[in-house]
Structure formats: C-alpha cells, structure tokens
Amino acid sequence: MRIGLFIPCYVDQFYPKVAIATYELLQKLGCDVRFPMKQTCCGQPMANSGYAHLTKGCDANFMANFAEFDYIVCPSGSCVLHVKEHLHDENNEELASKMRKRVFELTEFITDVLKVETIVGNFPYKVGMHQSCHGQRGLKLSQMSELNAPFFSKPEQLLSKIKGINLVSLSRKDECCGFGGTFCVTEEAISVKMGQDRIKDHEAHQVDYITGGDMSCLMHLEGILKRQKSPIQIIHIAEILNATV
C-alpha cells in the first residue's frame, strides 16, 4: 500500500512541523509514505473565489504527482474536500475519478482505512477541538449539530485514546471560525469577529491548546491569539497524535 503524502501549500511553507508530524505518524503506523516533491496546491483558493476555470494547471500538477499512489493522505479536511469535489482531467477523467476516491483526510484515513484502534500516548493538557467546517460538514468527519442523528467524531475518537488529555465540550460545538479562504481578507471585519468569538468559547473552557484538523483555521485563530497576547496555543491534531504514538 503506497501512500502519497499531500501537504497543503501553506503548511509546506509556514507549518512544516505539521507536515513532519503527519509524515512521521503515518510511518509509525506502518505506512509506506512518500512526498512527491513537485506538488504545490490543490487549487482551492482560486475555485472558492469563483475562478475554478483557472485551476486546470493545479489539477494537472496534482494528477501528475499523485497518480501512482493507492491512497493520498492529507492533514487538511478543506484541501481533501476540494480534490474530492473538483479534481478533473479532460484527457483522463477516469483516472481523475479514481483519484477523487483515493484521497483521504488524515484522521479519517487512520480510523476508516488503517482502522487503528489503540494509540498509546500522553498529552496532559486541557484541549479544545475546533471542527473545521469542510472536514465536518463536507467530509462528514463528525456528526453535525444541525442534523437529528447520533453523535460520532473521528478526530475525537482518536484524541480520546490519548492519556491525560482533557478534551473540553465547547458551547457552540461546530461554529465556523471565520477563516473561509479569501473570505479572511475580503470580509476582514466579520472574519476576525468570528475568530474572536470562536476563541472566547475556548477561553471560557480554560483550554491550554486549541487543536483541529485544518491548519488554515488554526492559522487564523493563532493570528488573533497572538495579537491578543493570549497564552492559549494552537496545535494540529497530527502533532498531538504523533507526539504520543
């Protein structure tokens, strides 16, 4: 089983430690994982801004880098959702369709494909989990508060196995943080207000860390936390799971 490691462009450039944690974690879980060096971006920033017609280059690049792998795994719900919904190739739509089905978000890959049941480890902190909207509502990584359906959560299922972790229950379980891709700059006022409110919920539960599966949401929250000189830190879920496997 060959795993292609798909690292979001901004994680590659700004949060290499998240990529390293993902890479190491998958290896420790017994995967043959490779990082195709010529990958860049899935094209989501253009597509969500209304420029989906400009993503052909990104699509072609993605296809060239990941075609050979059995699974494509990525520590970001948002990028995975974009590939799942929008990856196309006019010349080889059959391959594009196969690749759309082979791409997985990290926690869903661990729970659904690897079916990992025990994780040994220790993270003795109070942690708030920020559910990214694309991971939760898009990929259905966990149940959504709007629906009348039983609760489940793939990321929380993994985190709950970690020794010492105190995972708090937020007041607004799946409220959006306001990042929203280019929304964070085109609608700066609302984006920041949403982020500030999201942080308040975590603060009210006195967390040490805010974690989540999407570094983009966490980058936005981190920017606000730092400006507020808050002691709360952000940490990607891969880093918690890797530190403790």
Binding site: I7, P16, E24, Q27, F35, E187, A189, I224
Partner: protein, 464 residues
C-alpha cells in the same frame, strides 16, 4: 446602478458596535438552539426534510400544471386570480384594485414578496397609506427601514430602540422600555387600523392546487384580523408557493415553525378558500425572475424555499453582519442565492459573503443545497465579468505560481525571506490580514526542504 454599500463594507460598519453585534449574534443563536430542540424531538425529522424536498421537486417539475389547476379551482371558489410577470406589474395590479374601490388606505400583513417588489414605496407614491400590521414590520416601517430578517423583521433592534420609535410616532412615554407597555401601545394603534381599513393585503405561505385555497401562517393573528374585517382581501404570492394537495400541507406545517422559531406550529395557520358573502378576494401570482431561476439548473432548488429563516439564524456571517448588510429583501444565505438572479450587477457581492461552512444547508427544512449554490454563483459571477479587476489579476498570478512547482518553491523562499527580514513589507496597514491578526512566523525551511534532507534517511531508519 449600484447605490448600496458592499456586504463587507456594511458589515464592517455594523461591527463597530461590538456589544450590539454580540447581542445580535446571541439572540439569533438562541433561536437556532430552540430550533435544534424542536427538530431533535421529532425522530422522523430528517425523513420529513427529505419528503418536503421531494414534494417540492415534483412541484418544480410540474409547476405549469399545478398553477393552472390552482387558478381554475380558485376561480371556482369565487377568487379573482391575477398574473404578474414582474414587480411592476404586481404593484400595478394591487393599485388597480385599490383604485377600483376608491380606497386610499391599506392594512398589510407580512409578505416578503411585497418587500421584493417594493410595493409600499410604490403605493405611497400613488398617495396610498399602507400600514404593516405585523409588530416587527410595523416597528421597522415607522423607522423607514426595510426588515432585516424574513421572520423576525426587527431583530436588529433592542427594546430601547423600539421605545424611542414608539415615543416619536405613537406618543408613548419617553424612556419607558417595558415590553408589556410597548406591546399594548402597538396593539391599540393597530386595532384602530384593522377596524378602519377596507382593503387588506396578506402574503401566502402555501397555495394548494387541489383546492384552490391559500394558507397564511402568523403568530400574531394579524393576517386574519386584516382579512376578516376588510371588504377586499388581496393575497400576493410568488408562483413557487404552490403545493399539490392538502395532505402535503402537514409536512410543511410541521417543518416551518420548528425551523423558523422552534415552535411546534405557528399560532395561526389560516386557510382562505373563498370570499365572504358580498366581499372580494384576489390572488396575485408573481413571476419576477422565478422563471429565469427555474431555468438555471444549478439554482432552481432555491425555489423550494418556504421562507423559514433558519439559514439566517444559523449563519455565522449573518448573525454578525445583520440583515441590512445584504441590501436585498431576503437576506442571509438564501437571499444571497436569490438576489443575483434578480440583479447580478447589484448583488454580485452576496455569494461571497459566506465562508461556505455549510450550516445553512444542514438546517434547511427543504434541503436546498445553499452553500453549494453560493459556490456555483461565484463561478457564474466571475465568468459574467462581475469580479473586481484587481482580484482577477491576483487570481491569475496565483494560478500561475501554484501550477508551477519551481516557481512555487522560489516564491515560497522569497516570501519567507521577506517576512523574516523585511517584515514591514507584509506587516502593514495595506494587508487586511495584519489589521487584527499577526502573520504566521516564517520557519527557516519549508517541509519540502526538510524532506529533501531527512525524508529518505527517515525512511531508511524505519525500514532497517
């Protein structure tokens, strides 16, 4: 011509008063939570949503036949049926009925369609005095503001604002913020209106093809008060309000109030089937762009909307930007997919006023794929040339960099170098990110640089 502020500009102004934004957000979140409780008490909730969506699918595929069936049955019941192609024709029809009776006053109950058609302004220019009888509508009408929410028109106002408005227009005691006192004043004022108006206009929540009757849902009974006391009842509806049979009503009535306010059912769900003896009843069926929307395959589902407002209450953007920032009769997520259909130039900003979080789609009782339609509208608007030139240039640049691995690598290195060594180039007032957020700290090396050095080695170590 565009004469309104863009959503982002209006939202930034609304956000200057943090306490008010917090209050607005919490008030609507309270309604969203009430909705959750009411919805989660019904085991078959998701099935009901599916059923409602399917009934609407049937309606949209056979709208021509159902409308003719409705018209014919309504006529048999003695109702006069009018057809209006657009807002102007709708307004003219309503005015002509008033003129025919020589009446200069109207009592109106809630109808978002008449807001969409700007009927009040039209009639007022013709010298007709219109009084809105829904309490929230009356409050915003006195303030000369449009409603900010389709179910809770004055939700952006606090009781202190209402007290001030009533003091100015109804002569209540200044500074008296007691809701009981203020409601009583409104009641006395509206009672006088109901008793003296000869023409009453109502909206339509559901029009039943099988029986030719309409159903109007209110919590205050104001539609009934108006229609029962007037000589002429005019009901205005967008053509998508049709449902095939009476039995289908049960599905929608169970969903509507629970989704809107968390009530099991609206206080009044009144059926109007024919005029009382010696009185008149008119129904105006309006297109106003609906045919166009029906013809847009990606957006036709938006015509399923039953106007419950649940998408607004749950929308994290709406809750913090307020209804007026959407500069359209129907605000929020659903309004943002209806508005560009009416006028792309004026409303091109609205599909971008969303993080595409998808909560709207999940609460929608008729399962409209709202956030997917917002995404699709963005593509249409850009292609039709409604994007700012600067954005198009930036996106083209971004697409070139991101499609080319070598350029991407170089751009990343340069970017990180600049952020580290000349931070002022990034950390300045021209960067909207930096205004209220710190930039991420640039690391010494990217992951790909780390991998080049450590990737294989790590692989080898693990494979030993």
């Amino acid at each position: 011509m565009k004469n309104n502020l863009e959503h982002s500009e209006a939202a930034a102004i609304f956000n200057k008063d943090v306490k008010r934004v917090d209050w607005h957000d919490e008030t609507l979140w309270f309604v969203r939570e009430k909705r959750d409780k009411a919805a989660h008490q019904i085991p078959e909730w998701e099935l009901l949503r599916e059923m409602a969506s399917e009934i609407k699918n049937n309606v949209l595929s056979n709208i021509h036949d159902y409308l003719l069936e409705f018209e014919s049955n309504a006529q048999k019941n003695g109702i006069v049926v009018h057809w209006a192609a657009d807002a102007e024709e709708h307004n003219k029809i309503v005015h002509s009925i008033m003129e025919k009776h020589g009446v200069k006053q109207m009592v109106k109950s809630k109808s978002m369609l008449t807001e969409e058609c700007h009927l009040n302004e039209y009639l007022s220019e013709k010298g007709i005095d219109v009084i809105d009888s829904d309490l929230g509508e009356r409050i915003v009408q006195l303030r000369k503001e449009p409603p900010s929410h389709i179910v809770l028109p004055a939700i952006h106002l606090k009781k202190e604002d209402v007290s001030e408005t009533f003091h100015e227009h109804l002569g209540t005691e200044k500074g008296n913020n007691d809701p009981q006192y203020l409601t009583e004043a409104a009641r006395l004022h509206l009672r006088d209106t109901f008793l003296t108006r000869k023409v009453a206009l109502t909206g339509v929540n559901f029009a039943i093809a099988e029986t030719g009757e309409i159903v109007v849902c209110t919590n205050e009974g104001n539609a009934d008060m108006g229609a029962h006391l007037a000589d002429v009842h005019i009901a205005c509806m967008g053509f998508e309000k049709i449902i095939p049979q009476r039995k289908h009503l049960s599905v929608f009535l169970r969903l509507l109030a629970r989704s809107a306010t968390g009530q099991p059912i609206t206080t009044f769900s009144s059926h109007f089937k024919k005029p009382r003896d010696g009185k008149e009843m008119h129904i105006v069926i309006v297109d106003n762009g609906r045919t166009t929307q029906l013809g847009r395959e990606d957006f036709r589902n938006s015509l399923k909307c039953i106007r419950c407002g649940a998408c607004m209450n749950t929308c994290p953007v709406y809750r913090r930007s307020g209804g007026h920032s959407y500069h359209n009769a129907v605000a929020g997520p659903i309004g943002s997919i209806l508005a560009p259909n009416l006028d792309m130039n004026k409303n091109a900003d609205l599909p971008f006023a969303s993080t595409l979080c998808g909560s709207c789609t999940n609460v929608c009782p008729v399962k409209i794929d709202i956030h997917d339609q917002l995404y699709k509208w963005r593509q249409v608007l850009v292609k039709e040339g409604h994007a700012p030139l600067g954005k198009t240039i930036a996106m083209n640049g971004m697409a070139t960099v991101l499609a080319n691995p070598m350029v991407f690598d170089l751009a990343g290195k340069v970017g990180r170098f600049v952020m580290k060594n000349i931070p002022v180039l990034v950390n300045n007032s021209l960067n909207p990110w930096y205004k209220q957020r710190e930039m991420p700290a640039p690391p010494n090396e990217s992951f790909r640089e780390w991998y080049k050095k450590n990737g294989t080695e790590f692989n080898n170590k693990n494979n030993e």
